[in-house]
Symmetry: D4
Subunit: 149 residues, 8 copies
Amino acid sequence: MTLKIYLSGEIHTDWREQIIEGAQALDVTFNSPVTDHGASDDCGVAILGAEPDKYWHDRKGAQINAIRTRKGIEGADVVVVRFGEQYKQWNAAFDAGYAAALGKSLIILHGAEHDHPLKEVDAAALAVAREPRQVVEILRYVLNGTLPG
Amino acid sequence: MTLKIYLSGEIHTDWREQIIEGAQALDVTFNSPVTDHGASDDCGVAILGAEPDKYWHDRKGAQINAIRTRKGIEGADVVVVRFGEQYKQWNAAFDAGYAAALGKSLIILHGAEHDHPLKEVDAAALAVAREPRQVVEILRYVLNGTLPG
Amino acid sequence: MTLKIYLSGEIHTDWREQIIEGAQALDVTFNSPVTDHGASDDCGVAILGAEPDKYWHDRKGAQINAIRTRKGIEGADVVVVRFGEQYKQWNAAFDAGYAAALGKSLIILHGAEHDHPLKEVDAAALAVAREPRQVVEILRYVLNGTLPG
Amino acid sequence: MTLKIYLSGEIHTDWREQIIEGAQALDVTFNSPVTDHGASDDCGVAILGAEPDKYWHDRKGAQINAIRTRKGIEGADVVVVRFGEQYKQWNAAFDAGYAAALGKSLIILHGAEHDHPLKEVDAAALAVAREPRQVVEILRYVLNGTLPG
Amino acid sequence: MTLKIYLSGEIHTDWREQIIEGAQALDVTFNSPVTDHGASDDCGVAILGAEPDKYWHDRKGAQINAIRTRKGIEGADVVVVRFGEQYKQWNAAFDAGYAAALGKSLIILHGAEHDHPLKEVDAAALAVAREPRQVVEILRYVLNGTLPG
Amino acid sequence: MTLKIYLSGEIHTDWREQIIEGAQALDVTFNSPVTDHGASDDCGVAILGAEPDKYWHDRKGAQINAIRTRKGIEGADVVVVRFGEQYKQWNAAFDAGYAAALGKSLIILHGAEHDHPLKEVDAAALAVAREPRQVVEILRYVLNGTLPG
Amino acid sequence: MTLKIYLSGEIHTDWREQIIEGAQALDVTFNSPVTDHGASDDCGVAILGAEPDKYWHDRKGAQINAIRTRKGIEGADVVVVRFGEQYKQWNAAFDAGYAAALGKSLIILHGAEHDHPLKEVDAAALAVAREPRQVVEILRYVLNGTLPG
Amino acid sequence: MTLKIYLSGEIHTDWREQIIEGAQALDVTFNSPVTDHGASDDCGVAILGAEPDKYWHDRKGAQINAIRTRKGIEGADVVVVRFGEQYKQWNAAFDAGYAAALGKSLIILHGAEHDHPLKEVDAAALAVAREPRQVVEILRYVLNGTLPG
């Protein structure tokens, strides 16, 4: 059994690297959005031509990013969504809703300070973790049946 | 043709009432989440018993609210999601993602100050409106083919 | 909004009647399996002819009952499954799994003594109630937003 | 043609080993739940933190186990569900219902003493076997067209 | 609960009338193919223009009939397929396969002399009846829980 | 049986009126796109604000029109697509492809001069008609089994 | 591009071998039912135990065969169904209907003498061939774009 | 992550070759229709026998081509549709609609002169490109996160 994992959400800390490194020995594959913030914002106009209006500048980029995001979520067995301490992160919550409607197994990763505003998102998840290490432990248990410690 | 509309998101202003009132002459039906904030937060423990841990207090409530939310979104032709000026509003973005994955027609309603953080959500929508009045005008045009003014 | 409810499971107490009576003022419809135990066991052979082997006697009946059960579950918004104190009740758990795979909102109704053996079923549900009265209160809140008391 | 098999249900006898060993020469792959009872019960709290309330202790574990179970059932061509002589085994019946709703080919494995309480589950199956050996023989016939003896 | 029934198959005896008449007191609706053999054969060319080649004559008609057949089967809860004593009746078996793949509840109606050639079709059905009267009795039991006699 | 019909394509002749009038006695309902060419082109900017770039002017309008088109096609039993003598009519062919992928019954209406360029579209249809009258005759036959003349 | 082909229907001539041999150079895989008539009829009782009643003898076998048939059809890109000169062959027509409802590409293979009784089946197909050689030529063209001769 | 691409539409310029060559270093696979115009037009009669009526000549060919087209589109992650300067190209628009209804990521490739007639098609796409080079740049960015230049 190979588990296909999509890592959605926050791009300002190294949580993805922690999970990928921690899961090196496991039968998993990872996908994620483009995490280069500048490239992600500008991909639309860089490829398809400049837009004077920032709104359409953003639209062009967001739609190209959606090609990757949808492929990643639709092909995943497990979608991990990380909410960090900053920013609105509405695209993370959008991805969680998208994955939930497709029946994907959701793991949400966030600090306790966000428990209340994330309660609807957490309620759709099969696990709520605080640390990337716990996500790795879940994947190891799901694949191999072994618990930490 | 009757359009079934689900009104998701912000609960602190009267945008739902504006849309419902404006659409009185149209062949539409409306659903929405429970907008009584206190009831929405406490429904789980009020019905199923108190929880000492706020986390499970929230979980119980969020899951009961999900019965209504999923019924409303899955039965809708058009899902309107309003982002206001305050709070995280991750459940609004979650609903938008959920509706998008089900192929629902999405209308997003928000001020220009949120254009950038909402760009992925807007990119999945068929219309982005600034005012409740515009949502009514879209519904009127979609149903009757008549434009404002 | 009308909620369509399917009441699955235990047939030896009056929990269905309690829920239906309690929900009289609500915009709900109810379906349930045939609860006449004798008719349910014998419907196959009574209509399609006797079988000397009890195994096929049971099969003929179970398949006719499945016409009703599948129609009821597939047409429901909410599936309530009651586990009582006696019998194996594997058909109740089967209905819960069937409903879960279809994405129905599940409410499970059982006493605390069954918490552990029902943990996988409960984990797929949006609410776990102890009393029929609580199911009515959930339906009332989901439809009208009003809490008990 | 490779057949993907999910082996659900009873964890106290060696029926899985018998099937896997018997099918060594066949083009099949097997998945199953974590069959270490203690790990399965405690995985939630071991990874995500202790819960004072046994109910939430169980919930956390059951939801993590669901990541594996759903992956296994959804990816399977054939779901074999074994009912043993002890315990409620409601999760086995839940898995059978889940698999049936997804249109999976079901093989149910149980002794004759459970024929009547399992009649609804059996009626959704394509085969009801008494012995693990028979499951192997079905798989061999389905793949190679060869009968025993 | 209203059951929507599609009556497929043999058009040379009055089995449809027997079922419809027998079910007058029940909450059911019936659909069926056009049973005027001549109109069914010639509808394509009568409306869309003559074809010199009988093969395309038949094709044009069969495709128009498919508009009605697919609507009827896709909208049905229960599909009853009658095999009579004459003709190839491949369209009846095709309808049965079509309905089975959509997960419809199938009732097959035929004499014992066809048991062996219909074994694959019967194996996909929830009931195999010999007489139209038995189909009525199944519908009455499924709707009302009452058995004959 | 009520047939829900969506009338897609050419908006410069009165073919829709001919069909609707001809079908007055039939159990059918009709939907269609907004056929006021000017309103259809300008609805986006009229409601959501002007765009200096014609490309985005068109996009805003096309997306609002899609709310109506998708609702109409997804809710239809039969989609009739008319290709006229002028213009590219790529939206008509797009609607036909959209409807085909959803398994809708397609009737294509066009003159013989377009037989070759429409061969892929026609090959996905259940009928190809030359005159609106023939569409009415198909609907009458499908509903009532009566042929013209 | 690999095409997965399921070869359904008649088992008394060597049409499958002709197609498989003719397609040796193509990027295709083939599946088919068990074509050993005796094994196919008796697999149920040979594995799961004798039945005194021929009806249940047949049922047990037909259901085990269905494990293979459904896997084969559901995994196929193209389903070829051959109707021969003898027998009822209702299972062939059933497979064709099953495949059609799943949206599989259907090729029907039969002599001209069956054109009329197979008209509904043919009308659901993308090709009707007379000779196994033609099926090979279709597969070669679909894969490589090369025509015979 | 491998992206599966289907290249639909215009067959008179070398745009497919430009994209395939440009994407040599990327983890992509390509499918497309048969682009030999003569073979595509005549495949039906060349394999299945001549037709005196050009209409059925075309139908036979279009249906065989549909086996390839549907396999290609249904198996794709991204469908690129090119509209050239000549011909009706209704099959290109049909493919775009078909892909849109299946939720595929659409990239439309055309000159600015077709912006207005293609506005409904473009509105269903995630990107509208002018040059094959831009399609390659989109694929490279989606796979590797690298922008041109």
